[in-house]
């Protein structure tokens, strides 16, 4: 908390949920910073989002950002840092804050952030970082906005948005853009008016955006009702955990078993369907079809390469409910489903745990720490390699005017971008390649 971070993925901004200023940058910038160079940014605008009330029932942190995206649009956050504050912010889980900040990338925001609060302290302690929590608690007042600012935000922010979480409805955003926000109560009408296919083929939850313990436990509370109330999943339903730690923990706590029982698939801990890496049955289909997911991006073709796939983004709990019902016409807040006995049953609102009551666990997190002292490490590259080459330093300027240069090319109007530029294939670091897509 209070730290600044850059990363080579546009969803680096996730760390705003821990009270950081975390910004996604290009590979070159990241290398420079690692080598000690300053990173420069034009002073961003400040957008304040005041959250009053508290989330309850079906509403999730995801709905906050879905609503904000609807207000600001995919361009509205450009050149701005979005800061969330108010009772609704402090009462929300740390991972929920992470989800909101994550999707700030979808409104073009430089980054999003929250002031430090107890939810972050709890999260740090639960994830083995008690020392950081204690250090942050000791200076907590300095890690959040001043009371004057939050009391009178118009005087300090370039733009202020106020949201009442008591009345916030679950949303589905889409298709084809994350800023087309439709409250679930209006989805049936919107789908009919726009000709969106109402049959849901697939529901997907997880990813870096939405696979916290809270997300999964709330989704599981709905999955459990499928069994308890004699329902069947109407859509294919898949879960991709965001890390081995969360996968291991939810397996230990029996959640994967609940999913398994209703016929859901648990994918590898990876981006998977979020960047279209899964065996989408029917992806080649020419017909229009609908999927719902709890990821962050839903541009055409993103999730399965099929331009006819209408992808909608929602909270993990709403996506789970929609996969159970299999139709965009379904509003879990008001509608009933027919069970195997022919009875009308209603889904109870989701419930879960902010953090695992038994703590997180993992056997092999798959993380390899860099050497404490890397000075003795030699990078050896075969001189015959066609694929790798150590860089020779470029020569310094000769100190005189550049004379006698030849014109190599006078390029026509854009697009003058060459192959490497368009496809951006220049880095050995996988995350940089991801940055292009994420």
């Amino acid at each position: 908390p209070g730290g600044m971070m850059i990363g080579t993925d546009s969803h680096t901004v996730n760390a705003g949920g821990l009270g950081m200023i975390a910004i996604g940058v290009g590979g070159a910038d990241a290398c420079d910073v690692m080598a000690g160079l300053a990173w420069e940014l034009k002073m961003p605008k400040l957008i304040g989002v005041k959250l009053t009330g508290k989330l309850s029932g079906w509403a999730a942190p995801k709905d906050v950002i879905l609503k904000v995206a609807g207000i600001l649009t995919v361009k509205g956050g450009t050149g701005a840092v979005v800061e969330y504050f108010g009772e609704g912010a402090t009462s929300m889980s740390c991972t929920g804050k992470g989800t909101i900040c994550n999707m700030g990338a979808e409104i073009g925001a430089t980054t999003s952030t929250f002031g430090y609060d107890e939810s972050m302290s709890r999260y740090l302690k639960a994830t083995g970082r008690e020392d950081i929590a204690v250090a942050a608690d000791a200076i907590a007042a300095h890690l959040t906005g001043d009371a004057e600012v939050y009391a009178n935000p118009e005087a300090y922010f370039d733009q202020v948005i106020e949201l009442d979480l008591n009345t916030l409805e679950p949303h589905l955003n889409g298709p084809f853009t994350p800023d087309l926000a439709t409250p679930i109560s209006q989805m049936k009408a919107a789908a009919a008016a726009n000709g969106w296919p109402t049959k849901i083929e697939v529901g997907l939850i997880g990813s870096c955006t939405n696979s916290s313990y809270e997300d999964i436990s709330r989704a599981v509370s709905l999955a459990q009702q499928v069994t308890d109330k004699g329902l069947t999943l109407k859509a294919e339903f898949n879960i991709n955990p965001g890390s081995e730690q969360i996968r291991y923990t939810i397996e230990r706590d029996g959640f994967l078993g609940v999913f398994d029982k209703i016929g859901a698939n648990v994918f590898a801990n990876a981006c998977g369907p979020c960047i279209g890496m899964w065996a989408r049955v029917g992806a080649e289909k020419a017909e229009k079809n609908t999927i719902v997911h709890s990821f962050n991006r839903n541009f055409a073709k993103r999730a399965d390469g099929n331009p006819n796939t209408y992808a909608f983004v929602g909270s993990p709990e709403l996506v789970t409910a929609m996969a159970i019902a299999g139709s965009l016409d379904f509003n879990p807040l008001t509608d009933t489903l027919t069970n195997d006995k022919g009875e009308q049953v209603k889904l109870d609102p989701p419930s879960g745990h902010e953090l695992p009551p038994k703590g997180f666990a993992v056997e092999d997190a798959g993380y390899q720490q860099p050497a404490e002292d890397g000075s003795g490490i030699q990078v050896m590259v075969s001189p015959d390699s066609k694929r790798l080459q150590l860089l020779d330093p470029f020569a310094a300027w000769e100190g005189v005017d550049l004379k006698g240069l030849k014109l190599l090319i006078k390029a026509n109007a854009p697009p003058i971008i060459s192959a490497w530029q368009v496809h951006g294939l220049n880095s050995v670091v996988i995350s940089i390649i991801l940055a292009i897509i994420c």
Partner: protein, 185 residues
């Protein structure tokens, strides 16, 4: 397009073989076919540039508006630097690419007067003048020596701040980092 080059992303000399191969040559409207002024023959952009490099001759790349758009990749600036391009002169830059050029010790320049783009001829030899006094907000001059014997001078602008001018002088930001690192040791 990406496929064949992907495997060379860690090998600057090899990946440099895709330098500007997608750019359209103003004079013949073709991609990857430019005149080698030393031989009068036409060849690919990378090969032609390698011929200049072998002859110890620096070159200039001229571009249109929003040059470098879509390229946040450092190689888009490293390849021309590696192959001996000395300066890129355009009507306007995409911001990230302009910064990347500066970091690699290249000169990224813009026409003070965009119509001067038309003054650049295929057989031009060019001098960049004023570098001894290279300073923020101070335009530089380009002298175009046309093949028919005439020459004209045009003004070009840049957005280098003092730090970035140091990068240029050192031959790139990495050289400065290296020097500072060695001094610290």
């Amino acid at each position: 397009m990406a496929g064949p080059w992907l495997k060379f992303r860690g090998h600057l000399d090899n990946i440099s073989n895709n330098m500007l191969i997608g750019a359209i040559n103003f004079y013949n409207e073709k991609t990857d076919l430019v005149k080698n002024q030393l031989t009068g023959e036409y060849g690919t952009v990378p090969n032609t540039q390698r011929a200049y490099k072998a002859a110890g001759i620096g070159t200039l790349v001229v571009g249109d508006e929003n040059y470098g758009e879509g390229s946040s990749r450092e190689h888009a600036a490293m390849e021309p630097r590696h192959l001996g391009v000395r300066a890129v002169l355009v009507k306007s830059f995409a911001r990230i690419h302009e910064t990347n050029l500066k970091k690699q010790g290249m000169l990224g320049l813009t026409f003070a007067n965009k119509e001067d783009y038309d003054k650049i001829l295929e057989d031009d030899t060019i001098d960049i003048v004023g570098l001894s006094n290279f300073a923020p907000n101070q335009p530089l001059e380009l002298v175009l020596h046309h093949a028919k014997g005439t020459s004209e001078t045009i003004q070009v602008n840049h957005t280098y701040n003092q730090q970035q001018i140091e990068w240029f002088k050192a031959g790139g930001a990495l050289n400065i980092i290296r020097k500072e690192f060695e001094e610290r040791q």
